[in-house]
Symmetry: C2
Subunit: 265 residues, 2 copies
Amino acid sequence: MTGRDGGADLRPIGNSPVVVLVRPQLADNIGACARAMANGGLFHLRLVAPRDGWPQEKAWRNSSGADRILDAATVHPTVADAVADLHHVFATCPRPRHIVKPVLTARGAVAELRQICARDLRAGLLFGPERAGLDNDDMAEADALVRFPLNPAFMSLNLAQAVMVMAYEWWTAADDTVPRRLMTNESQVATKGRLDNFLTHLVDQLDACGFLRNLPKRPGMVRNLRHLFQRGEVTEQELRTLHGVVTELAIGRRRRGRLETETEA
Amino acid sequence: MTGRDGGADLRPIGNSPVVVLVRPQLADNIGACARAMANGGLFHLRLVAPRDGWPQEKAWRNSSGADRILDAATVHPTVADAVADLHHVFATCPRPRHIVKPVLTARGAVAELRQICARDLRAGLLFGPERAGLDNDDMAEADALVRFPLNPAFMSLNLAQAVMVMAYEWWTAADDTVPRRLMTNESQVATKGRLDNFLTHLVDQLDACGFLRNLPKRPGMVRNLRHLFQRGEVTEQELRTLHGVVTELAIGRRRRGRLETETEA
C-alpha cells in the first residue's frame, strides 16, 4: 500500500470526477492531492501549467503510494484545454464575488456530481493555486462554484486539504456504513435473558456477603445496579468474564473471612 | 489572517472537543493539524509525548496563522493524563481489531460529540502517531472508535488530513448553508414575467429577420428556445444584457443588409 515500486494497486472506480489542479506551485502538494484522491476513491488527475514543470519526483515521494494516479496524470496548457472533453465543471472557490454563479456546498456539489456521473457524463473539479486560488477567467469555465462551509475566521485551506474534503465527501456519498455499530471480537451481544442471569448471580452474591442487608434500601440498590449494566451493550464473552469476576471476588472474600476468623481464633 | 505576528484572531467557539495528538512525530504535522482545527472551528489541542519535544518552531511555521491554537496547546506524558478531565473520549482508528468497542463513522462521531458538548460535558478526540496509529492501550482509554469511511484500497491517511475530516464534519454539523444557491452580483433572479418579455423580444426579432419563416415549424422552434432559457435562473442584469445583445445583432444585421443592398446596386 505504501510500497515504492509502483505504489498501491489503484484504478478508476466507476465514472468519477476529474480533479484539475490549476497552476499548482509545489510538487509536494500535487503528491499530497493524489494521496487524498486515493483516500476518497478518485483517480483522474489533470494539471494545468504546473509551476515547476512535470513530472516532479517530489510528487511521487509525497503521495504515500498513490503513484498510479500521478503516473496517469496529464498536463494541459490552459483550463479550457483541461476541461474541453468534460460535460460539467465545478470550481472550488473560498471567496467568490462579483460574479453570477450557482454556489454549492461541498456536500451539495458531490450530490450533483454523483448524479452527473451516474448519467455517464464526464465531470471535473477545479482547484486553484496555493496562494491566489482560481482567477476570474478560470471560474468562467465552470458551471458552478463550490464553497466549503468552514470557520469564516480561518478560511486558509491547504490545497491537499481542499482535495481531501471533496474526496471524502465523494466517497461518503456512496457509503452506507451505519453511524454507530458495536465491533465485537467474534462474541455476540448478549440477550436480555443472559444479562439477567448475570445480574441475578451478582445480586445473590451481594446478598450472601451482606452488601444488601439494608432491606428498605435493597430494591433501589438492586435497580441502580441493573440500570448501570443495561446502559450499554454487553457481549456474551464479557458476561462470562463478569460471572468469573463475581465468583472469584466472593471466593476470595470467603477465604479472607476464614483467614480472619483463624487469626482471631 | 495569515500574519506571522500572533496569527489569526482565533478563540474557542462554544464548547468544542479537545484534539489529542498521541506521540506525534513531526512538528510540521502538528502545525498542519492546528491549521485544520482552525478551519473547522476547533481550538483545544493537547500533545501526548511529542517525539521531538515541545515547543517546535516548525509547527508555528506550518500552521498558516493558527498560532493561537499552538500557543494554548498543552503537553502530557500519557494519554491517561491528557484525558483525565474529559467525560467522553473518541479515538480515531483506521483498522480496529480484536477489541469490543463501538465504532462510529466520522459523521456519526460528530453527531454524538455535538450532543455531548451541548450537555456541557468535555469531549476529546484521539489521533495516533503518523506511522503506527494508536496502540491497544491508547484505545482502551476511549469510549468508542472513529473509523472514516474511505477507499479500502488506500486507507493511508495523513495525520492532518484525519484532523481535517473531523474538523470539517464538526463545522458542517452546525452549518445550515443551503446545498445550492445562486450568487448574484446585487442583481436579482428575474421573474417569469421579465423572462417572458425578453423571449417575446427575441421572437419578434427572429420573425423580423426571417429565422422563423417556416410557419409549420415555427411553434416548435419558439418552444425549444423558451425551454433553453427556462433551464437555469437568469438575473435581471443578465436579461438587460440579453435584450441588448438581440437588439444590437438585429441592428447590425439591418446595417449589413443595407451594405449588401448598396453593393449589389
